[in-house]
Amino acid sequence: MARRENPEINAGSMADIAFLLLIFFLVTTTMNVDSGVSKKLSEKPPPDYVPPVIKEKNIFEVNINRNNELLVEGERMNVKDLKDAAIAFIDNGGGEGKVENGVATGPCNYCQGQKDPKSSDHPNKAIISVQSDRLTEYGTYLKVQNELLRAYSELRNRLSLQKYKIPFPELEEAYKDDKENETLKKKVEDIKTSYPQIISDAEPTN
């Protein structure tokens, strides 16, 4: 008799329940940002392909054995020293560059290396060859790849700062945002061809 109408259900805790669910989904959501070291494989050579003869001095040999130890140009090395060794090799600039589309690139005028005639001629001729054992750990292999890529990005960055007064990652970012921009494109291409990444994976030893 005292109550005529149904009392309203208290909806105050509804928010709490919803919050609980919300927080659950917030926590379990993984924004799967997949990232990795990207690499472009070389195309399969035709069966009658004869590999070009490359001068010994233009090859930077990195060997990783099955105990994950590093042999660089015949000497044992620590992974942390690899980057600097690679930079010294790529940036040596001891001779003439290769002839591209009939145009000789000539000596490397942006290199700041030793100009040692016994080391690489030009960044576009410098080949880094990584040979690993089949039993080498993948982690070590990737670390080596990463160090070599770091060497290249450091050189590219240096050249970009010197030429265009902008760090290379920023330049690339700017180009990515504005794909139509021809001057940016030219700049990016210029840096990339100045220090092309030539890392070859030799067949692993058994």
């Binding site: 928010a15 919803a18 990207s38 690499k39 982690g139 990737l142 990463n146 770091r150 994976d201």
Partner: protein
């Protein structure tokens, strides 16, 4: 008069009836944007190596992932070199079929942009990765990405 005075007493409570609506809206947003892992792993989640020179993989629909690591099922042994393609354990021999199958799902124009992401455990051996790589080269899937977490690299 007394009735009138009663009404004026005390602050009226702020109406919170709309609060659940707001929260539910947020909830639905997160529910919708959450992506569940589409393939369940038959191998232990690979402990990815860390690297500094990592690039983000864009266009998820163009990425096919190959997992390499230790199989959960003990019948495959406990080496870190088992390969998982889609949702079953395979060998490097199955890689070309896997890639061709992935290609059939995208338009022809997008095929050159397809990337293969290799998610391998730190302790996998390079031999396994090389086998996969040779098979990928056979089917002309040349863009690969060695999955790694961004870190100090040391």
């Amino acid at each position: 008069m007394s009735k009138f005075r009663k009404k004026k007493k005390g602050m009226p409570a702020v109406n919170t009836a709309a609060l659940p609506d707001i929260v539910f809206m947020l909830l639905f947003f997160f529910m919708v944007t959450t992506t569940m892992r589409e393939t369940d792993l038959k191998i232990d989640a690979p402990r990815l190596p860390s690297a500094t020179e990592v690039k983000k993989l864009e266009h998820k629909s163009l990425v096919s992932t190959i997992y390499v690591g230790k199989a959960k099922d003990p019948k495959y042994g406990n080496s870190y070199n088992r390969i998982q393609l889609n949702d079953k354990i395979g060998t490097a021999e199955d890689v070309p079929a896997f890639i061709i199958n992935a290609r059939s799902k995208v338009s022809e124009a997008e095929v050159p942009f397809m990337t293969t992401s290799i998610k391998a455990d730190k302790e996998s051996s390079v031999g396994t990765i090389t086998d996969i790589r040779l098979k990928l080269r056979d089917v002309n899937a040349l863009k690969i990405s060695y999955s790694a977490s961004k870190g100090s690299g040391n």
